[in-house]
Chain length 384, copies 2
């Protein structure tokens, strides 16, 4: 195998973007990535689009984006695995280049969410759980993750305050991120007093739906090397699955798919959990980040609560996690999130992250979960 | 590059399948493919699912299929490009193997359509055209293709009878296909007298919505070679795009994306149009098959009408086209269609097609169109 490198990244503002169609959001991120890469758009061989089409009025999302980016007649197609759709697009583009079929592939994660009401979104998301035997009983995304949280609290003594410390950290860093939906610090007092959602969660345990897009451009080893020390290598691509129904999982205190995907990515890149300097993990709910610490091997099972309490996932701790605000403060445009994570890691490994720069970051990881853990994609990025 | 081979194929019955969920449809095709290949399912590295999720009650289609096939924790993800979603899955699996990441990849195209009413389906399909500037004016799939037909008739003198001869041929062969939705011959008299849909089309110009699934298993060169003379090689993978809006196309008498995708596939496989013995083309409407003859180079532009009239696309003619019944008679479960096409070509190249066998078929082609031609995927298959 050769190596695949990231040669350009771009990111738009996440939030309620009634000012822009999905193709306009995609273009915003694409233009930034093209400028960042310095390439001529004529060298682009193909694009892969990560999105979940059913939230859009416009279907055929790949087609509408491809045309708006003026990339016809080059190939494009869309990948969908719920909230991990962007990472599936990255994996696909990596394969396209590694296969020798293409040399330069644009990956765009883009999503409109706010065309639908919150009730419509909740109904659609519930159907990402198993429709036949489980979600018919009224399960929603918050209720699934609330079960994980309750079990974690029961088994390991994880506390409400530890959960909310995840939110406090992510809002702290989100306040420094110009692309984030929520750019404000929050306090424990305010978080504890926020409206209940699904016990034990209150509003500040939950990420917010958003519109948004992010873009990365991947290239083969030869072209990537032309970028000199700006290039960031995508050296490990892990992907694993688990049962749709949580009732068929071995336990509820972590995601088996995440453990397996991390194992694959670490092995492929030849690094371990202790080597990771900066990570973007899928904090759709506060408990999700705590489980991610454990699933990724940043700490042992059950120790995620103390891990955040001791600020070991802050900059200066063991590993800096979600220092762009995470899904929690940045917002979660589901198809865009995986690519947004990659954007942040590349920015960090290049040393371009400004106020929220992780010193000497050399190894970065993204952890992107689809559904309630039926898919997890873990990607490992390195600079030489 | 090495070669990628098809080592197993399976196909379920297309039609109104209220007896089966989407995962059960997928399993039906998967089980047949596993048995056909003779492999142990333990060697499967990953699956790629072609489907259009918004027609299903169950979202997260890849996850629910992966679990039902007992393939957890192996990777899976879904590809979507409207009616070409199955071919995008094949392309993705080809890249996965060619990249060296995986050795054996299962491709499943699966689709439930009949959970929705025809009106709901038409509304959803209309949104595959451009929502912002075009489909708001009420365009539907039949009306788009009716425009193509009217223009072709105007420019080249193509006749109503020539259009319907496509339907007559495809029903003729569909009657021999146990998996087809419509297993009956039709006459010109009956076809001409059928209900009008969108001028010039009547019912027999249009394919039918259906539920269904098909499966092919791809493997790397080494494992594929173990199948001896049963292996069929996927030697060319073409994919191209064109504008969403038909108003921005250079003409309305063919699909620019199909011409470009065919060019790529021919070049990659080192064959030309004259070498193709058997082809599966995207006859969602009768005019679509006539345009495909021309776009693929089986005849010159404008000669598609006489081409079918002279039975040059029957078995024994220049190239046997849609001898499984095509979308027209077999039915069109949109995510499954591209994989179903590959199933038929592999069956033909192996000499296993029974009554509808094309003698000495050695080179086969699939032509799968997404939307109204915003994407076309052309794949070239060969036996040694």
């Amino acid at each position: 195998m050769t190596r695949v490198g990231v040669i350009g990244v771009g990111h738009g503002r996440f939030g309620r973007r009634s000012d822009a169609t999905v193709q306009e959001l995609a273009f915003e991120a694409f233009r930034a990535a093209i400028e960042d890469s310095g390439i001529d758009r004529g060298v682009i061989d193909a694009s892969v689009i990560g999105a979940v089409p059913e939230y859009h009025k416009q279907r055929s999302v790949a087609g509408v984006v491809q045309e708006y980016l003026d990339l016809n007649p080059k190939p494009t197609w869309l990948t969908e695995v719920a909230c991990a759709s962007g990472s599936a697009a990255i994996r696909t583009a990596w394969m396209a280049i590694q296969s020798g079929l293409h040399k330069v592939v644009v990956v765009i994660g883009c999503q409109k969410m706010t065309e639908l009401s919150t009730a419509e979104i909740l109904a659609l998301m519930g159907r990402v759980g198993e429709v036949q035997w489980e979600s018919v009983f009224g399960t929603t995304f918050p209720s699934y993750y609330a079960m994980f949280a309750n079990r974690h609290m029961h088994e390991f003594g994880t506390t409400r305050e530890q959960l909310l410390q995840v939110a406090i950290k992510n809002h702290h860093y989100g306040a420094m991120n110009p692309n984030a939906l929520f750019r404000k610090e929050i306090t424990m007092e305010k978080a504890l007093a926020s409206e209940p959602v699904a016990s034990p969660f209150c509003v500040y345990d939950c990420c917010a739906n958003a519109d948004g897009a992010a873009c990365i451009i991947l290239a083969d080893e030869e072209r990537a090397a032309e970028q000199g020390d700006r290039v960031v290598w995508l050296d490990g691509v892990g992907c694993a699955t688990a049962s749709m129904s949580v009732l068929r999982r071995p336990h509820l205190v972590g995601l088996p798919s995440a453990q397996e995907a991390a194992h694959q990515a670490y092995e492929m890149a030849g690094v371990g959990a202790a080597d990771v300097d900066v990570a973007e993990v899928h904090d759709c709910f506060t408990i999700a980040e705590i489980m991610a610490y454990e699933d990724l091997g940043f700490c042992a099972r059950g120790e995620g609560g103390p891990f955040i309490e001791e600020k070991r996932s802050y900059i200066g701790g063991d590993v800096a996690v979600n220092v762009d605000g995470g899904l929690k403060a940045k917002g979660h445009p589901i198809g865009a999130t995986g690519v947004s994570m990659a954007y942040e890691i590349v920015t960090q490994l290049r040393g371009d992250a400004g106020d929220r720069q992780v010193p000497d970051a050399a190894v970065g990881l993204t952890h992107n979960v689809g559904g309630i853990g039926q898919y997890t994609f873990v990607n490992l990025f390195r600079r030489d």
